[in-house]
Symmetry: C2
Subunit: 236 residues, 2 copies
């Protein structure tokens, strides 16, 4: 099942891929793992939806997350990824994202929606930062996978009226949002530490990856997080 696709866009002389493609392949593996994780999370959210229309909407959004997966895998194989090693990479990124999920067990539907919006918002931003160093076809397939598929709007539309109407819930969700971003930044730090080859491709990382890069990246993730909290009218 994991036979490599024909490497349609490899160098015509059939040379092995340059060693710099190792980081590129790892970033694509992270993107693939992110899609599987988004599918699983939205499907699980759908299964917990309190009414039919929300359930159908979230189920469809989940299904939509899988659409770009094939192209991402195909691109990684075209770059010369060994199929088994690629599967191992995707699986290990998946485990990192599953850990993030396991650490944040929502107590109710509203915490669940905040986790989806805030938590996967930061995971998506992180992936975009790391994919920013991609070019050509890799950049294309990653961009399609990381595009806004509309679940943020769905979640915000569901949460906003409840947050406006119930100050006590809003206070609890603000606290929860801070816990979620804390775990998100924790995952980010772990990912950058364990996968320096991925970090090396990140936006602004021309030259070796330094503590300053990590600080700048964390700053950007935090400010995007603050924007999301503000959109929900929650104290960041």
């Amino acid at each position: 099942m994991s036979a490599p696709e024909p490497a349609t866009d490899q160098a015509p002389d059939g040379a092995s891929p340059p060693s710099s493609s190792a980081g590129e392949i790892e970033v694509l593996a992270l993107v693939a793992a992110g899609e599987l994780a988004s599918f699983a999370r939205l499907a699980d959210d759908a299964a917990h939806a309190p009414e039919l229309r929300m359930r159908i909407t979230l189920s469809r959004l989940a299904a939509g997350e899988l659409a770009p997966l094939g192209a991402v895998e195909e691109r990684a194989r075209a770059l010369g990824a060994d199929p088994e090693a690629l599967d191992d990479s995707i699986w290990s990124f998946r485990e990192l994202l599953a850990e993030f999920d396991a650490r944040l067990v929502p107590r109710d539907w509203w915490e669940r929606l905040v986790k989806t919006y805030i938590g996967y918002g930061i995971v998506l931003d992180l992936q975009r930062e790391l994919a920013a160093g991609l070019t050509g076809r890799s950049q294309e397939v990653a961009a399609a996978a990381l595009a806004d598929k509309g679940w943020g709007d769905v979640v915000v539309a569901a949460l906003t009226p409840v947050i406006a109407a119930e100050p006590q819930l809003a206070a609890r969700l603000a606290l929860w949002g801070r816990r979620v971003v804390g775990e998100g930044l924790g995952i980010t730090a772990r990912l950058l530490a364990v996968h320096p080859e991925v970090a090396a491709l990140a936006a602004g990382a021309a030259g070796p990856w330094t503590p300053e890069h990590v600080t700048a990246l964390t700053g950007r993730l935090t400010s995007e997080h603050a924007r999301r909290m503000k959109r929900l009218d929650l104290t960041a």
Copy 2:
């Protein structure tokens, strides 16, 4: 969000639908609920898959379950279904299917796969029996929704070697398969009792629905179940 679709294939004189379409709409609601349930179950199976290729395969099969949903809903609305009443019907069938899931908590991956194959096999057969009385466009959309989407083959391919290699596991799975079919027939009985308008459309139910019809239907479901157990080489 639940605004009715234009009733493109209603009678051109705009007359209200005949009362016989009530049963037809209910069967379509059951089919829609079945697709949502299959999506949720396969997505949950995918989330528990022990390795990447199975996870991707089951995630994609889950997504495929949603594809015919829009056409089923559209057809029910074209038959004159009130959007809110239709949502309520789908939701109540969903609850019945969720009860089936809640009663059968698999202890491991293999029991999970047997539950998917045996349990949803019987649920699918039941839906096919009840949809057999549909005609025209309703028949078409139900047939597309209830078509074999290949997950049976995936599950059988995964289970067969393990069952052949581990007699003790095979014995446990045979017991579990019998529990699953018991719950499946229980759900069937409850559905037929609570929804006589659905039962009235079932295969062979020309005229009022009688205990003999129920017996005949149960017999057909049981023999299809036996065929599946045999395919897994489990004692029915």
